[in-house]
């Protein structure tokens, strides 16, 4: 056995056919590393087809994870290790592997037929084209079959356990504890033969590493010095679902979700459906429109009404959101952004729904927008969105994206007692008098501070009232088409939304707020890459300021003042410059866009190169 080397970080990418169990393999490797104490960040990357033609490049499913002994935020630009279970995976992902990186291939799957399906006319393992990498060829399929044979597992069934062989091998190479995985296999697979085969394959992979000279040196990534506390590992969608449960508890309101299945938002529906003992009601609606209508009906009834969607679903919810703007009821609309337009890239990430969130309704229909920025932060973003919706009686759009939804990170659990109190009071007695001096309920009499209207729910005696999409009179809420009233109501709706900014905490400027010339303005999941890029630039001696927005509408009152302090403002976005355009229009500053629209997050390398380019272009230009 060789000595163990120490790495400060490691990026592993597991790649195989959609049916090869790569997501599960990556997830296990991540869980074990999280429990071991590494900081980490993951990036599942898979096709929209459930099972694309086996063995083709279209069917490749990958899972990338970065582990470190220090605080990290991204899943890493280029893997140090690529595990390729078939030629298609090699073809799809080789370009990502760092020069000199470790390439582990399942030698058994490089037969002529497999090569042809992946579009190779000869075997790349034999032609010297991989000389720039440390190639480790392992006959994983046959070794897995051998390991399972004594258990009486049929060879064709045994073959399905080869992902556990790969996991075992990589676990040995990077000194991962084995017990948690063995326990997990025993608990997960009820069929003893399947559990036995997976265990045998995992152990065979681990022992293969130990006993063959081929694999060579063993490394470890030591636990990160993370702040003391109790940690769990969550994906963005799970954290968001938990945030909705928490929001219901904090508001002391039942949560009702109306949702129609759509990738990548469906996991929120799945997660919330488990938590009925919290009083969470979930309705799988007949369509996206009904899903939002159900949430609005629940809001009228006095619940925290929520609807979740993605892609084309956002368009379908527009008319309900407009009604919610008009009848001024709380409604949480959660959009897990994906590549568009139309069906677009259902499983890939993009942040191109800011414009539809801002403008995608008929009439003047302003509403607040909240954006989550990391998987764990989705929890707090959900609570913030609920706070605004309930306090101001307004629909709120919460933007997450596919990268956050499926990515995971360690999360230091908050103290429940530190979470905000977002309770609001229902109106239970008349709040005005009519011309004859009788006590009446005025459903559009506004709170002087928030401009929110009162919320009286059905079942409250004496406060019966009607709301609707027709323009309403200020105070009484009766149908009113008069010109002065429509002007006034439009102004009031806008002023109410603008006023929300008064409830934000002051903006935080990261990096070098006072010394920098250049300020990066970000929102959403680019947080991870911007964080790593800004740190790298600062280590290289540059001064960089960074503001990351979670409230996109209304923008924070202090944003303009901050941005005007910098000679250059750059806005990296996974779209064609949507926030950048808003900022340019609102503050009349020459903000520079950095855009990417490939269905993938920025890499640190890309962002750094873009910043360097902008900096170079600015040199010699008088300030």
């Amino acid at each position: 056995m060789t000595d163990t080397g120490v790495l400060d970080r490691l990026v592993v990418r597991f790649a195989g056919d959609s049916g090869d169990g790569m997501q599960l393999t990556g997830d296990r490797f991540t869980s074990v590393s999280a429990t071991f104490g590494n900081d980490l960040s993951t990036f599942p990357d898979y096709p929209a087809e459930i099972r694309a033609p086996a063995g083709t490049v279209n069917g490749v499913s990958s899972f990338q994870v970065q582990l470190a002994d220090h605080d990290i935020t991204t899943p890493g630009d280029n893997p140090n290790v690529l595990v390729a279970m078939n030629p298609a995976a090699l073809k799809a992902d080789l370009a990502r592997l760092e020069p000199g990186g470790t390439l582990i291939v399942n030698d058994d799957s490089f037969e002529e037929r497999d090569l042809a399906k992946a579009g190779y006319d000869h075997n790349p393992l034999d032609d010297g084209s991989l000389a720039g990498y440390r190639l480790i060829r392992v006959p994983m399929t046959s070794l897995t079959k051998q390991a399972c044979e004594p258990l009486g597992v049929k060879p064709r069934d045994a073959e399905r356990s080869k992902n556990f062989f790969a996991l075992g091998l990589v676990s040995w190479m990077y000194t991962r504890p084995t017990e948690p995985t063995l326990e997990w296999i025993a608990a997960r697979f009820k069929d003893p033969l399947v559990a036995g085969a997976n265990t045998a394959a995992f152990q065979a992979g681990f022992h293969f590493g130990e006993t063959t000279e081929q694999v060579g040196h063993r490394y470890e990534v030591r636990p990160a010095k993370l702040p003391a506390g109790e940690y769990t590992s969550v994906t963005g969608n799970t954290a968001l679902a938990w945030g909705l449960v928490a929001a219901g508890q904090l508001a002391q309101l039942p949560v009702t979700l109306g949702s129609y299945p759509i990738t990548p938002a469906s996991d929120i529906l799945h997660e919330l459906s488990k938590h009925k003992h919290f009083g969470v009601r979930t309705i799988q609606a007949e369509d996206e429109i009904a899903a939002s209508g159900m949430a609005l009906g629940a809001a009228f009834a006095g619940h925290l009404g929520v609807t979740t969607t993605s892609g084309p679903g956002v368009s379908l919810k527009g008319e309900t959101i407009s009604l919610a703007v008009s009848i001024e009821l709380p409604l949480l609309v959660i959009d897990i952004q994906r590549g568009g337009p139309s069906t677009g890239l259902p499983t890939k990430t993009e942040a191109a729904d800011l414009n539809i969130a801002m403008y995608g309704r008929h009439g003047e229909a302003p509403l607040p927008i909240v954006a989550a920025y990391s998987p764990a932060q989705c929890f707090f973003a959900a609570i913030e969105a609920a706070r605004i919706a309930l306090t101001y009686r307004t629909p709120v759009i919460l933007l997450s994206d596919g990268f956050l939804a499926n990515g995971s990170e360690p999360w230091r659990l908050p103290d429940i007692a530190d979470l905000p109190d977002i309770r609001v009071a229902f109106t239970t007695s008349p709040n005005g008098t009519d011309a004859d001096g009788n006590s009446v309920y005025l459903p559009y009499l506004r709170d002087p501070d928030t401009l929110a209207r009162p919320w009286a729910i059905p079942g409250t005696p004496g406060l019966m009232h009607r709301v609707g999409g027709l323009e309403k009179a200020d105070r009484t809420g009766n149908v009113d088409y008069t010109p002065e009233n429509h002007q006034r109501m439009g102004d009031l709706r806008a002023a109410k939304i603008d006023g929300i900014a008064a409830s934000y905490p002051p903006l935080v400027v990261h990096g070098d707020p006072d010394e920098a010339d250049l300020c990066v303005l970000g929102w959403g999941s680019t947080w991870a890459t911007i964080h790593a890029t800004v740190e790298r630039q600062r280590r290289a001696g540059h001064k960089v300021a960074w503001i990351h927005l979670t409230n996109l509408n209304p923008l924070p009152n202090d944003l303009g003042e901050h941005l005007r302090r910098y000679r250059t403002v750059v806005v990296p976005e996974l779209n064609r410059g949507q926030l950048c355009n808003i900022v340019r229009a609102k503050y009349l500053i020459d903000a520079q866009p950095i855009n990417k629209m490939s269905g993938l997050p920025f890499t640190v390398g890309e962002l750094e190169a873009a910043l360097d380019q902008i900096r170079t272009a600015q040199q010699g230009v008088p300030a």
């Binding site: 009925k276 209508g293 006095g302 309900t320 059905p458 019966m464 009607r466």
Partner: protein, 340 residues
Amino acid sequence: MTDTAIQLTSKKDWSSDQEVRWCPGCGDYGILQAVQQLMPDLGVSPENTVFISGIGCSSRFPYYMNTYGMHSIHGRAPAIATGLAVARPDLDVWVITGDGDGLSIGGNHLIHALRRNVNLTILLFNNRIYGLTKGQFSPTSEVGKVTKSTPFGSIDPPFNPLAVALGAEASFVARTHDLDRKHMMEIFRAAHDHRGAAFVEIYQNCNVFNDGQFNDITKRTVRDEMMIDLVHGQPIVFGADRQRGVAMGSNGFLQLVEVADVGIDNILVHDQHHPHPSLAFALARLNTDDHSPTPFGIFRQVERQEYAGAVGAQLAAAAEKKGPGDLAALLRSNGTWTVG
């Protein structure tokens, strides 16, 4: 809802202070009168009653009821009402819709509310025309109808609303018309008392854009010969002397017969509670146009699991099994580890 808290109400208690703005002579007035007159007799209170409507002439209805109400979005009332009913099973929720609102733009929501059997009382005002947009053909207009959008006659085959509702597994299906307040009140009461989704088609006259559409059936002078009253447990007969009836032919189809020809024992006995919807469906398709004898009354009323009740039962079962939700425990449900 606590019955003891309910005060006796009068029709006035159920009428809002808003001026009713349908065209003079519109059939909607009669329906509003019937509902407002019925409500005090239902043993319910205005604060526990909600009217949800979509868009169209009929959908102005909630503004005139002194209850909670929402004039919502074209076609979406059944979806909004579903969310409301699931959140608050203690409320009486009514849905007011029309042939365009309920069967065209909102067809999907209507059939799914019926399929789920949400506890809603759904009144569909069928005037076979678009009124609020000033006279285009609707999904219940007959083929050949000349309207502003069909100057050469409509080529769209119409829906039969009752057949749609039965096809969507509705547990309560009935038909009434705007000229008979007593009949409307009787049907609305039965629909309200039904636990689950109750669907009522109301033949309603639009005197501006489709005047007299149902005259050949519902006018007082022709009613006896043209309206077939469905009475549970009774032979289905009609006519001034109850001389005509409905019988099943040897080919399995329903047919109109002279009672004297076949004998009263061979007249179909109406069974609105029959678990199989096929006879209700056949009765719904008995009249082929608005000029032939047409059945009115309750076509089908069966017991079926109500949706909001089932949602509530799952919640109660989960709370029973797991205890009340514990947020701190939820955040630890994926397993945790401790640093430092």
